[in-house]
């Protein structure tokens, strides 16, 4: 079932050791491990910009009946971008490898928050929304491969239909939605383009749910890291130029294709697995990973994981309404409300318990001893300090 505690501890140990080693070289200010959440966001911006350039020349059809002289379709437009537009092939390469890099950095991000035990309790929404968003990233990336409309796109389209047909009840509807009709037509390609771009914007707005409640979310790595990432990306783009298969031919049944393992791994599974088993595996793994924060799958835990932690409490008679805790709280869990009638002050701090992580940062921010963690009031901490120093 869940990993034994000693094993999860050693994974955390591995993370800390790796980060410590990186700190020795890069210092903590430029350690990419400390921006693991911002790295995919950076690649998302790269994808939006390069995608915008590709969108300018892309034509989402499989044929063009009105042009007798020269076939103008999705494949020839991509070919035009690659071979005629200055640096078109480079932009395509950036778009493809930035997608791969985004998946890679999301996986690193997820592994780090899992191994260092930062995914459960008050963070369950971040964990769960992250899983949903990663699903979107995979699907958006796969639609990118359909858009090229080479032989590989045709195989992938047919395999997707095959997988949808195996689904009970919703299968036929999904297939009709996916093809935008009953067969592959021009409308299919325009649907792919809509899914690819539309879902990308949905992903961007969905990230709001991932960042909600974070005061000052770290969504941008320092410029130096961005430059380094772009340099690595450009190196890959020039070392491994992007390729294209022949134009899709609906009368053929191609079978071999190159696999981008970051996005097309489900198709590799589909080539050897029964589609029902495939869907059971996908749904099973997703549900299991989503439920990881639950206590019975988690040896680090005791008690009810869905209940809020013991939230900080304001001592109403001491609070002067200075807003320092409100400004410093990293989870936006403090709300300043008008002070009750008869108070000398204008504002009173209140805690939103469902947001509180019980970290005590507000206690450190308070110069009036007016906010406490229930199991560790600051008066007792000070008493303990004095007692320890008084002995011997």
């Amino acid at each position: 079932m869940a990993l034994p505690k000693v094993y999860t501890d050693s994974l955390a140990y591995f993370c800390l050791k790796a980060e410590d080693a990186t700190n020795q070289i890069l210092t903590s200010k430029y350690n990419p491990f400390y921006y693991h959440g911002a790295l995919p966001q950076f690649f998302l911006w790269v994808l939006f910009l390069s995608g915008l350039l590709l969108f300018a020349y892309y034509i989402p059809t499989i044929d063009n009946a009105y042009s007798s002289e020269r076939l103008i379709n999705a494949f020839t437009s991509v070919d035009f971008i690659t071979n005629q537009i200055p640096f078109g092939a480079v932009v395509r390469g950036i778009h493809r490898y930035a997608g791969d890099a985004m998946v890679l950095t999301i996986i690193l991000h997820a592994l780090r928050v899992w191994w260092t035990d930062r995914y459960r309790q008050y963070r369950w929404l971040q964990w769960f929304s992250g899983i949903v968003l990663l699903g979107f990233v995979f699907f958006i990336g796969q639609t990118g491969y359909y858009l090229v409309w080479d032989q590989r796109s045709l195989v992938l389209t047919r395999m997707t239909c095959y997988a949808f047909e195996a689904l009970p009840v919703i299968g036929p509807g999904l297939k009709a939605w996916f093809l935008n009709g009953e067969a592959i037509t021009n409308l299919t390609l325009s649907n792919y383009l809509f899914i690819h771009i539309g879902l990308s914007f949905f992903l961007l707005s969905g990230l709001w749910l991932h960042y909600v409640r974070m005061a000052r979310p770290v969504v941008t790595p320092p410029p130096v890291i961005n430059y380094a990432l772009m340099a690595i990306l450009m190196f890959v783009v020039f070392m491994y130029p992007i390729t294209m298969d022949r134009m899709a031919n609906l009368t053929q049944q191609p079978s071999n294709f190159d696999i981008d393992w970051f996005f097309l791994w489900p198709y590799a599974m589909l080539t050897s697995w029964d589609p029902t088993v495939f869907w059971l595996a996908i749904v099973g793994v997703t549900v299991f990973v989503s439920l990881l924060p639950l206590p019975f799958l988690n040896n680090n835990l005791s008690g009810n994981v869905l209940a809020p932690v013991d939230a900080a409490e304001v001592v109403g008679s001491k609070c002067v309404g200075c807003q320092l805790c409100d400004k410093d709280c990293p989870y936006e869990a403090i709300e300043m409300v008008p002070a009750p009638a008869g108070s000398k002050f204008k504002l009173l701090a209140t805690v939103l318990p469902h947001r509180c992580s019980s970290c005590g940062l507000c206690v450190g921010a308070c110069a009036f001893d007016a906010i406490d963690l229930p199991d560790m009031p600051d008066a007792e901490v000070t008493k303990k300090i004095k007692t320890l120093l008084a002995q011997s």
């Binding site: 955390a12 140990y13 800390l16 050791k17 980060e19 410590d20 700190n23 903590s28 200010k29 350690n31 400390y34 260092t116 035990d117 930062r118 974070m214 005061a215 000052r216 320092l324 410093d328 990293p330 989870y331 992580s357 019980s358 970290c359 005590g360 940062l361 206690v363 450190g364 921010a365 308070c366 110069a367 001893d369 963690l373 560790m376 600051d378 901490v381 000070t382 303990k384 300090i385 004095k386 320890l388 120093l389 008084a390 002995q391 011997s392």
Partner: protein
């Protein structure tokens, strides 16, 4: 004996195997430890209280800067001690007697060697004088 009060984040260096029953670091006699859920919870008032109640020095320890199990806690207390984020230390506080160590769970030996060095520095400073 030189007394050092260590205010430490419980997710920072793991001192569990190094403490005696009086919350004293075995390797550094006179170094007492109070644990916090996060170093961000440490108030400058607590640092001052320790100095007033007989500590020769105070060690504030949090996770490595950039890393915090919660969020930003170690950065906050660091800025408070350096005076760039309110509440700060009182003006008369002897800052030579306070150090910040930003260490991960696995850096216990670094912690012990840094504290030993701090103790020798404190010995050179002599006993705490009257408040200015």
């Amino acid at each position: 004996m030189t007394k050092v009060m260590t205010l430490i984040c419980e997710r920072s260096c793991d001192l569990n195997d190094h403490l005696d029953e009086r919350s004293q670091v075995k390797e550094v006699p006179g170094c007492y430890v109070v644990k916090f859920p996060c170093s961000g919870m440490i108030q400058p008032l607590m640092v001052e209280a320790a100095l007033k109640s007989g500590a020769d020095g105070v060690v504030v320890t949090g996770c490595q800067i950039g890393d915090c199990y919660y969020r930003e806690g170690n950065k906050m207390i660091r800025e408070r001690l350096l005076g760039s984020r309110p509440p700060t230390l009182k003006k008369g506080t002897d800052r030579r007697r306070i150090i910040g160590l930003w260490l991960s769970k696995v850096q216990v030996h670094r912690f012990i060697s840094e504290v030993k060095e701090f103790v020798t520095d404190l010995d050179k400073l002599g006993p705490v004088g009257p408040a200015k």
